[in-house]
Amino acid sequence: MTILKTENLKSFYILDILGIKQSVMAVNDISIEIKENEIYGIAGESGCGKTTLIKTIYGMIEPPLNVMDGRVLYSIDGKLVDIFSLDEEELRRLRWEYVSYIPQGSMSVLNPVTKISDSFWDFIKAHSNYKDKLEIEDSIKEHLNAVGLPLEVLNAYPHQLSGGMRQRVTIALATILKPKIIIADEPSTALDVVAQRAVIQLLKNIQQTQKNTIIIVTHDMGVHANISDRIAMMYAGKIIEEAKTEEIFENPLHPYTKYLIRSLPKIGDKSYKVSAPGSPPSLINPPTGCKFHPRCDSFKPECKKIEPQLIEISKDHKVACLLYSKEMGQ
């Protein structure tokens, strides 16, 4: 069942530099459907718009970010609700209880001058109807046990914890009210490999026990291979390929995905790896037609003119590339 849906979503950063208006097309016509109880991964390079996409999905729209077009729909109690039609207070109430957000670099999210337990209190008081003090205390302890954190962290200040522990505390905070959807933006990027593994495993465990949906954004394909059920590849503000994780790794279709998967180094493999030529496009002035065409090795003249649409090639495998839409007879 669909839990979250975007329809032709467009959100741009409108910049006004000395009277010259420029728009950064960070999310450019994206339609995705996320199913209940799945881990949906969004992959792409820095500056391709992945963080903007999830900010828009979360309804965190602050200038210069503007939603130009499209809708974001949450399925709440079986009804699809357009989040842009809700007022500020209704949206606030949805947050943390229905949808929670683990921001990028959440190492610095915790308030450095309050103890971890105070942060937990703040969250619960602001977002739930608990009345009893003891009840809150019990639920905090129970949750920390469930996510495998020692209770001593409650009395610690953030700087006394290691990076991995701090990130696990933020994840514990984001999941204490058992939200239906957890949006995680690069949850493990600032961490070391060992801590990263602990954090990713924790997220997965929570998803399995609480039966919620995770949208995870990271540029690290290794993390996607380990956690995501489905992956959407983003490039220059667009989704260019979407498929099950195994399919993306074994049978990538879009030339960009192919480059990316092939260039990943692995231990035990010394074969020569090449990276894609050229560099990522500017979102202010993106190339016409297919955004990848200046770097593509199977470039054809029509790629410059026609913008390929995301179409389903085989079951659950969508790609936006003229190479494939031709074969489909379109």
Binding site: L161, T245, I261
Partner: protein
């Protein structure tokens, strides 16, 4: 005592940082008795997590911080506390650094080519403007760019990958023998990362440039380097040929590190869950083996005394597991 092709030799390098006030002082041994040598030409990886002391080692070699103990030899000359200005300036010229974040390396308000010219003047490469242009162009060509593309542009006009290549080009101007690259690709986009890594390989093969590649990314380390040293909490816990260390890790920490790398292959997902320490300080201050708190094979002796180096199968390991089976024990 030194082999002819040995470029750099580091012996017993130790750096102690003091934390806290006068009353509650903690001494953190950020680098503890680290020794290794670089042959010419080779790519040597210094790998470890953040807080393992790998960057401190690089900064000591580059002379940014003074070591508490230990010495560094470049081509057989000791360069720490060196009075000999000539040897030191030779070292400065032949050993060049590449830093982690290309956006921070360059001042956003200065044109990129100024850095290249400045390096030429500082190292007295040439006094002739045309000759300097030629040298810069040559260095940029080696990294797949040209002076025409770079001239009069600001850092904001380049992508991270291009800027990182320019910073490699800057380092190449003085015709270095050794590059010290501290996490050179961690800020570069995945699709461009391999172009920088391949550049190091090419420089080694064509220009005989050695590289100390400092990284936390074992997959690129395996791809690019011949030898690797794994650092943990200031100590090198395992060092040897990259195939041996990464394919059959011996030290329990190396095993954990290797297992924890997220393989870009959905068939090779992590199986069991792992333990983390609550704070980094705790491990630094631990007596005996620093990994004892998390090690699955921990023995009584590990908590009391720090293990020495043991040679097993061409790999040097700091672990009691191998102390009895070893061919010989150093220290």
């Amino acid at each position: 005592m030194k082999e002819n092709n040995e470029l750099l030799r580091i012996e017993g390098l130790t750096k102690v940082f003091s934390l806290g006030s006068v009353f509650s002082r903690i001494r953190i041994v950020a680098v503890n008795n680290v020794s290794f040598g670089i042959n010419s030409p080779e790519i040597f990886t210094l790998a470890g997590e953040s807080g393992s002391g790998k960057t401190t080692v690089a900064r000591i070699i580059l002379g940014f911080i003074e070591p508490t103990r230990g010495s560094i030899f470049y081509r057989g000359n000791k360069i720490t506390n060196l009075k000999d200005i000539e040897a030191r300036s030779l070292f400065r010229k032949e050993v060049q650094a590449i830093f982690q974040n290309p956006f921070e390396t360059f001042n956003p308000l200065r044109k990129v080519n100024e850095y290249l010219y400045e390096t030429c003047w500082n190292f007295n490469v040439s006094r002739n403007r045309n000759e300097i242009d030629g040298i810069i162009d040559e260095a940029l060509k080696a990294v797949g760019l040209s002076l025409e593309e770079v001239r009069d542009k600001y850092p904001g006009e380049f992508s991270g990958g291009q800027l990182q290549r320019i910073s490699v080009a800057r380092a190449l101007i003085t015709k270095p023998q050794l590059l010290i690259a501290d996490e050179p690709v961690s800020m570069v986009d995945a699709s461009l990362r391999m172009s920088i890594i391949n550049l190091f390989k090419e420089l080694k093969e064509k220009n005989n440039v050695s590289v100390i590649y400092i990284t936390h990314d074992l997959a690129t380390a395996y791809y690019v380097s011949e030898r690797i040293a794994i650092m943990f909490r200031g100590e090198i816990v395992e060092t040897g040929p990259v195939e041996k260390v990464l394919m059959e890790p011996k030290h329990p920490y190396t095993m954990l590190l290797k297992e924890s790398i997220p393989e870009p292959d959905p068939k090779m997902k992590w199986q069991e869950s792992i333990r983390l320490t609550a704070s980094e300080e705790e491990e630094y201050l631990r007596k005996g083996c620093k990994f004892a708190g998390r090690c699955p094979y921990v023995m009584d002796i590990c908590r009391k005394e720090a293990p020495g180096d043991t040679v097993v199968d061409g790999v040097v390991v700091k672990c009691y597991l191998y102390a009895s089976k070893s061919e010989k024990t150093i220290a």
